[in-house]
Symmetry: C2
């Protein structure tokens, strides 16, 4: 199996991307990587790394899609960009089973739709990151921002895709919650009320009911289903809150000599570890679900460690049959009548 | 000035409510409190406190509205409940200028609408709590959950009311952000796009543009305007994340002997202080904005300290002319055409 990596996407491209991709090869030996981008620059980065040359392929291309590019225009016009070339390989080559990019989210999403295509039956692919929980595990948030406007059937698809992804990630019987403004069944706007009713009927989905924002990271659900608008707000609120809490803690520590001494002597290591736990980019990236092949969108600021994690994440999802599992779950439900109106 | 306190609302009523109300009298001497509820029980609680009897009034009533009551039914039928009696006093007695309740949010909101009434021009009152920020200040989140469905004009009203409240709380020229799924102007669903355009036109409002979930607690805005659905998710996500972060930190500390020693010797106090900073109920409650008088909804689990803070918050808002300020800001804008369609 090959995983193709957009070597030019992200704030730290190509150095950290190349380093991370090569690093991933040490963690498993059943796959190889393809790096797309400026061959000369990529080779220069590779020169600093130790790796098995037989497992690394470089495909030269001349263009780069940046955050300033309008996604649809860029995907259509920059045909020789590292992202479009990677997407083309993903679409056309059977042994290329996953793609990793730290480039513009909009471009990756648009490119996935236009160049790779949706899974039949899924009208709206979704972005699905994993967050740490208070109980030490992870929770999948879907949709974290691909669709600002959703219908109930989209939320049902998110539940199906999130369940399939949780399963291939090792969760046996994933618990699915619907994120609304209250746990009672009747809570929410009409969209979420309709989605609640729909989720109750889905075979193969362990729907545990409505959950609130405070329950997302509690560890009581494995999949938190959101519309893309409030899901994006929830995701970014977790980031903002975690960062604010760490800053408040630091300010408190630095304001007391006693605590400052304690920190320096005993707790610095613990805090570094905590920061790592909270930094979800360490786990890899957000999976784009609903596309015909596995795509992992790594954070724009990704360094080698998180690119490495993203490549392994793509490999694991592909090896465990993510796309097949989504299709099977989807085949078991009858959303035709509801989906048809889209 | 009098502040009326629903002595029977909340998990710790009436003990902690009475204690908190009486405690607030020590912090300022220009007001008195009225306690509504079971007189015998209230007097028993008062017997344990030291206070100036001239500044405490007890109004006996026989009923209690609980979280199990349907709000509209309860407000209509339980006419001798501690909440309805308090609302009646707030409405009818000029010197009663604020109300505090730790009872059911739904009942307080419904009761405020039915028994006290809206400010003319405001179609949808909103819930407005204050959160701590990374820079050490506070940010107001409005609407945090009163309205699961909103129109753009409601969001404009939230910006106006939030600005007025930030001002009476001591912020000179409050910065207002609109919480959406991206900072770019065109981001958001049609509701938020329309609201963005509207906010740009409001005189007296310092609109700084769209903000993301991660910016709410950054300290870069004083008022974060949300629709009540995503605002509720954002609020509860901050709670859940803060709690998860603290648990993850504790688990990390307890897993290392070195860190455990450091914690016990040096950092326990700092952590207790941090927990207090993060616990926004310590600041008092969420203000209900858009009602003809000042109402503070304290957290259901409020203890004496947060009831005390809520009473002082109501007193401060009333003393600083919150309602007058909202009306003045509202008079300066022309939302008639937009509001009329409601």
């Amino acid at each position: 199996m090959k995983i193709v990596v957009d070597a030019m996407g992200g704030d730290n491209a190509p150095e950290e991307i190349v380093k991370g991709a090569v690093l991933s090869l040490e963690k498993a030996n059943d796959f190889s990587v393809v790096l797309t981008g400026d061959e000369q620059k990529i080779r220069a980065c590779l020169a600093d790394c130790k790796y098995d040359a037989a497992r690394v392929e470089v495909v030269h291309c001349t263009e780069i899609i940046t955050n300033d590019d309008a996604p649809t225009v860029a995907i259509r016009q920059k045909k020789d960009s590292s992202l479009v070339v990677a997407l083309k390989m993903l679409k056309e080559e059977e042994d290329v089973q996953g793609l990793v990019s730290a480039g513009s989210t909009g471009a990756v999403l648009t490119g996935a739709l236009l160049r790779v295509g949706r899974i039949r039956g899924i009208t709206r692919p979704a972005v699905c990151p994993a967050l740490p929980t208070a109980k030490g595990g992870k929770v999948l948030l879907i949709d974290a921002g691909a669709n600002a406007e959703c219908k109930a059937v989209n939320l049902a698809h998110f539940a199906i895709m999130g369940t399939a992804y949780a399963k291939v990630s090792g969760v046996k019987d994933p618990r699915v919650g619907l994120v609304t403004n209250g746990t009672e069944e009747h809570k929410g706007d009409p969209l979420h009320q309709e989605a609640h009713e729909l989720l109750k009927t889905l075979p193969g989905i362990r729907f545990v009911g409505n959950i609130e924002g405070r329950d997302i990271m509690s560890g009581d659900v494995d999949v938190a289903v959101c519309d893309g608008f409030s899901g994006n707000i929830a995701l970014k609120t977790t980031e903002g809150t975690a960062s604010a809490v760490m800053k408040i803690i630091k300010a408190n520590i630095l304001s007391s000599l006693r605590a400052k001494i304690g920190y320096a002597l005993f707790m610095k290591k613990a805090f570094e570890k905590i920061k790592k736990t909270m930094d979800y980019s360490q786990y890899g990236g957000a999976v784009l679900l609903g596309i015909e092949k596995v795509i992992v969108k790594s954070h724009g600021s990704s360094k080698a460690a998180s690119i490495c994690a993203s490549v392994l994440q793509a490999r694991e999802a592909a090896a465990n049959g993510l796309i097949k599992d989504i299709k099977e779950l989807l085949a078991g439900v009858d959303l035709e009548g509801i989906g048809a109106e889209q």
